[in-house]
């Protein structure tokens, strides 16, 4: 019962403090248009700077996930394989088949062409 009262008081105090902080803080005045311009040393942009760019590390990430996940599961699987035999082999086969789709996709994307 005591614990319940303590929790209730803490929750009420938390909500009250949040509301007080929210109500008490004035929103910052919006900046003027010249201040919202991106800094280009006095120059001007043609477009927004929000743009799609190529995350060039992604192909390495793809390879890493594909091969590292394989190895991560193979060590514990090797222990289970001794006891379970063919069933464990089939399960690992399914798992590898799924991961190899990722490797095939990476192959299509040119991951294995080192430049």
């Amino acid at each position: 019962m005591n614990l319940l009262i303590v929790v209730a008081v803490a929750v009420i105090a938390g909500v009250a403090l949040t509301l007080a902080a929210h109500g008490g803080a004035r929103p910052a005045p919006p900046g003027t248009a010249p201040q919202a311009l991106p800094f280009l040393g006095g120059g001007t942009p043609d477009t927004h700077a929000w743009q799609r760019f190529h995350f060039r590390a992604y192909s390495m990430t793809l390879l890493f996930v594909a091969f590292e996940m394989e190895m991560m599961f193979m060590y514990p699987w090797a222990v289970v394989f001794v006891a379970e035999g063919l069933k464990a082999l089939a399960e690992m086969g399914m798992f590898l088949a799924i991961l190899s789709i990722g490797i095939l996709y990476g192959w299509r994307e040119g991951v294995f062409r080192w430049q």
Binding site: L37, G42, G43
Partner: protein, 302 residues
């Protein structure tokens, strides 16, 4: 009064200064800002004092107003002709601002680059995801990438004439894809500077500052020796090759050895295409200001 006490404490720190350098005053401004009593800022957002060194020619006047308006309040600007005790004057301005002095108002009107309010389905100024001018500016559109031909967004802007990573006065009209320079053209050449600006220590200090070694750059300008190791190795080999067979690294080595460098700078437009933005700024700073000015004027005349 806690605020009064804090303001006094803040007023004792070096004033944060952003410099807009005009013709003829580059060496003097560099020496001024190398002093430990002033704090050189890389962006107007960080600064409280706008140092306007020399007379800014009229084509750059609008750019100066834009930089002025980007300083946060409270702010002050200081026009400097290269003489007098600028350090003391800037210090007095800084203490005045923190003591509750008036901040300078915006010089440009408070208008968005394109009118957008109330237009479009949600009043965002555009149609769909990419059309129109959402929030006053068009969205970036795709173009072929130089490196692997992927179609990615292009960012076109005029950078300068007061960009701290470019020589003062130089305005580049550049298209970037991420950080890669796809096209570059000189919109305005750098301002003319005295022969002193080509001095080895001044040129080396500019490159060191771009490499993030601001302390070493200031030490060089005050007549000391740089302590940082590996500055040469930080510049890629073969960057900004000149007709005499040297590159940016070789020129920095010569400058650090106290030798003047006299080279012909290639057309900056051709020099920068295919470089990453930071490499491009290093490439421009690796030529003496007089050589770069000659090259940009030749490119304009052609």
């Amino acid at each position: 009064m806690a605020i009064g006490w804090l303001s006094r404490l803040a007023a004792a720190t070096p004033p944060p200064v952003f410099a807009a350098v005009g013709p003829g005053l580059l060496p003097a401004t560099e020496r001024l800002l190398a002093r430990p009593t002033l704090r050189r800022c890389g962006s107007p957002r960080e600064a409280a004092i706008l140092l306007v060194a020399g007379t800014i020619p009229e084509p750059a006047g609008a750019a100066l107003d834009r930089v002025h308006d980007q300083l946060p309040h409270p702010r002050a600007s200081f026009d400097w002709d290269g003489g007098g005790d600028a350090e003391a004057a800037i210090g007095a301005l800084w203490r005045g601002l923190l003591g509750g002095g008036a901040s300078e108002p915006d010089r440009l009107p408070d208008e968005p680059p394109n009118s957008w309010r109330g237009e479009g389905d949600h009043g965002q100024g555009g149609e769909g995801m990419m059309g129109g001018v959402p929030y006053g500016r068009p969205m970036a559109m795709t173009g072929d990438d130089l490196r692997d031909g992927l179609s990615l967004d292009l960012y076109t802007a005029r950078i300068g004439p007061f960009a701290p990573m470019l020589p003062p006065g130089l305005q580049l009209s550049a298209t970037l894809q991420g950080d890669l320079v796809v096209t570059a053209a000189v919109a305005r050449p750098p301002f003319e500077q005295p022969a002193e600006a080509d001095a080895p220590e001044a040129c080396a200090a500019r490159l060191l500052r771009l490499l993030g070694l601001g302390g070493d750059a200031d030490r060089l300008l005050r007549g000391g020796r740089p302590r940082g190791l590996g500055a040469l190795a930080a510049i890629p080999t073969g960057l900004a090759a000149d007709a005499q067979g040297g590159d940016a690294r070789a020129r920095l080595r010569a400058w650090l050895g106290g030798e003047m460098v006299d080279v012909v700078c290639p057309d900056p437009g051709d020099l920068l295409v295919g470089l990453e933005w930071h490499e491009a700024t290093l490439a421009l700073a690796s030529f003496p200001p007089s050589a770069l000015r000659r090259a940009t004027q030749a490119a304009e005349a052609a």
